[in-house]
């Protein structure tokens, strides 16, 4: 067999493709079935958020942050609003902090449901698990509609609190959701974790070691799946996370199955957090009075929260005017794509889509 001459072929997994999550382009070189090289090309969704933020007031930028990671809008709002409050030294009332944590955890569940559903869709299960996950996500989006009237781009939080208080039907619907959700998760895990085909296609595929993950700046469930126990909600607690008891699940090997498993376990932890918040919340104001045009004193701040995709940070420089001088977004999906080439090399074409799906990036955040 030594005399056969083979040639590697370069294929373009184009920006329009049924299963790359958004307009993402990957130029892959194959030698037969094996991937020799992979070059990601993005920027198709670049809208210049950071430049736009320099000419908008601090409250107007909330709507810009919604549209970055359009799947997890509450976490983006929370990250931005926390940064502005630290910069301008605004105190947030307790009831607002509890509602913010409840919304952020609900959003984490919705985002992980979408990630799991699409991972299974990429595995080839014809969209059946996807519709089951979306059926649950619809219930969460209905809750958001009760809170602020929108489902995807919410703009619910403001510097100083939240937009409006939660109506009565929100709490009863939330109680029903909390009661039902663990059974639904059991059913989903029973269907997926014991399916031989899923296991044989995800175990051992796309391994990311812990030293490499830390070196590449990975954060979020991808980092925790590589057995690094680091979560900003426990390492640098913000809002009222220091009063809540929850666990940080980690994975053993850093392969695709671990990344799926960490997300599934995190959904359970989020349910625990929400039920504790419901018990601890008390009546009170939900927003401190701030002037419409907030003028923070001159200074700068870097503040990060733990979003569903990873560490979402804002670095803001203020020069005393109504718009920030510099507003830089530390986007977790963008930095999570750093080791992509190394993660893909050596695997087969069938594994390529699964590894991409397990990293769970959203193009709105990658391109900003």
């Amino acid at each position: 067999m030594a005399g056969i001459r083979t040639e590697p072929v370069t294929i373009n997994l184009g920006p329009q493709h049924p299963s790359t999550h958004g307009v993402f382009r990957l130029r892959v070189t194959f030698d037969g079935e094996e991937i020799v090289d992979a070059e990601p090309i993005f920027g198709y969704l670049h809208r210049g958020t950071e430049k736009l933020a320099e000419s908008r007031s601090y409250v107007q930028i909330v709507t810009l942050t919604d549209r970055m990671d359009y799947v997890a809008s509450m976490s983006n709002n929370l990250a931005y609003v926390s940064a502005v409050e630290k910069l301008a030294d605004i105190k947030v009332p307790e009831r607002a902090q509890y509602i913010r944590v409840i919304s952020a955890e609900l959003q984490r569940i919705a985002s992980h449901l979408m990630a799991t559903g699409f991972l299974l869709n990429d595995l080839g299960a014809l969209a059946t698990p996807l519709t089951y996950c979306f059926r649950e996500r619809e219930r969460i989006l209905d809750l958001f509609e009760m809170l602020c009237g929108a489902r995807i781009t919410l703009s619910y939080m403001r510097p100083g609190g939240v937009l409006q208080d939660a109506p009565e039907e929100f709490w009863s619907a939330l109680d029903t959701l909390i009661a039902d959700f663990p059974h639904y998760l059991d059913e989903l895990e029973g269907l997926i974790t014991s399916n031989e085909i899923v296991l044989s296609r995800t175990i051992g595929v796309g391994i990311l070691s812990d030293t490499k993950a830390i070196d590449c700046g990975i954060s979020g469930p991808n980092l925790r799946a590589s057995s690094v126990k680091w979560d900003l909600r426990k390492a640098a607690p913000y809002e009222i996370y220091d009063r809540l008891e929850f666990d940080i699940p980690i994975g053993a090997n850093g392969d695709t199955f671990d990344r799926y498993q960490v997300r599934a376990l995190e959904m359970r932890e989020s349910i625990k957090i929400i039920s504790q918040c419901i018990k601890q919340i008390e009546k009170g104001p939900i927003r401190t009075e701030t002037p419409y045009f907030i003028r923070p004193p001159k200074g700068e701040i870097y503040s990060a929260v733990e979003g569903p995709k990873g560490e979402l940070g804002f670095y803001m420089v203020s020069d005393g005017s109504i718009a920030p001088y510099r507003c830089k977004v530390r986007a977790p999906s963008y930095i999570n794509l750093t080791p992509l080439t190394d993660m893909l090399k050596g695997w087969k074409m069938g594994d390529m889509i699964i590894i991409l799906g397990s990293i769970d990036f959203v193009l709105g955040e990658v391109d900003r």
Binding site: F42, G43, H46, G48, E50, K51, K212, I214, D215, C216, G217, I218, V228, W230, A235, A236, P237, Y302, A304, E311, G313, Y315, V317, Y325, R326, K328, R330, Y334, I335, L337, T338, P339, D367, R368
Partner: protein, 148 residues
């Protein structure tokens, strides 16, 4: 709670090996001389007391007379953080700074973005191409004098 390592302490440890690297420091930040940037970062990463193995983000800010780069670092083992700041030499014409990609690989995509949007060159980066804008785009949009 992640504590901020005092700037004086960081500056002290770096100054032991590279006395010319530190320009000034205050409670939270350390200003580093750009020509000693990669050596100083090696000390930051490998020194036992510092152990800043995690690069959170690299940011570039356009103060009209100069460009400034910020490196936000975290040590996962001791749960502490610090900020390193670099003022780019050569003013606005062609600012350039050594790349830290050989020390932290997460600088790979972030430095490309800064080159694309701000125009700061990173010497030693193997693949410094535009990433968010298309090849052949003229100008660097995030600069304050860019009128698009």
């Amino acid at each position: 709670m992640t504590k901020t390592l005092a700037g004086s302490k960081v500056a002290e440890i770096i100054a032991e090996v590279l006395p010319d690297a530190i320009v000034k420091y205050d409670a939270n930040n350390v200003w580093v001389n750009p020509s000693y940037l990669d050596e100083a970062c090696k000390i930051l990463k490998h020194h036992a007391n510092l152990d800043f193995s995690y690069l959170n983000s690299i940011t570039a800010v356009d103060y009209i007379e100069k460009f400034e780069l910020l490196y936000h670092l975290t040590s996962l083992r001791t749960n502490s953080k610090t900020t390193i700041r670099v003022t780019c030499p050569n003013g606005r014409k062609s600012p350039s700074v050594p790349s830290v990609i050989s020390i932290w690989q997460s600088a790979d995509l972030q430095e490309r973005e800064i080159w694309d949007l701000m125009g700061i060159k990173f010497t030693g980066h193997p693949n410094l191409k535009r990433i968010l804008l298309w090849e052949g785009f003229d100008g660097h949009p995030l600069r304050k004098d860019y009128l698009g």
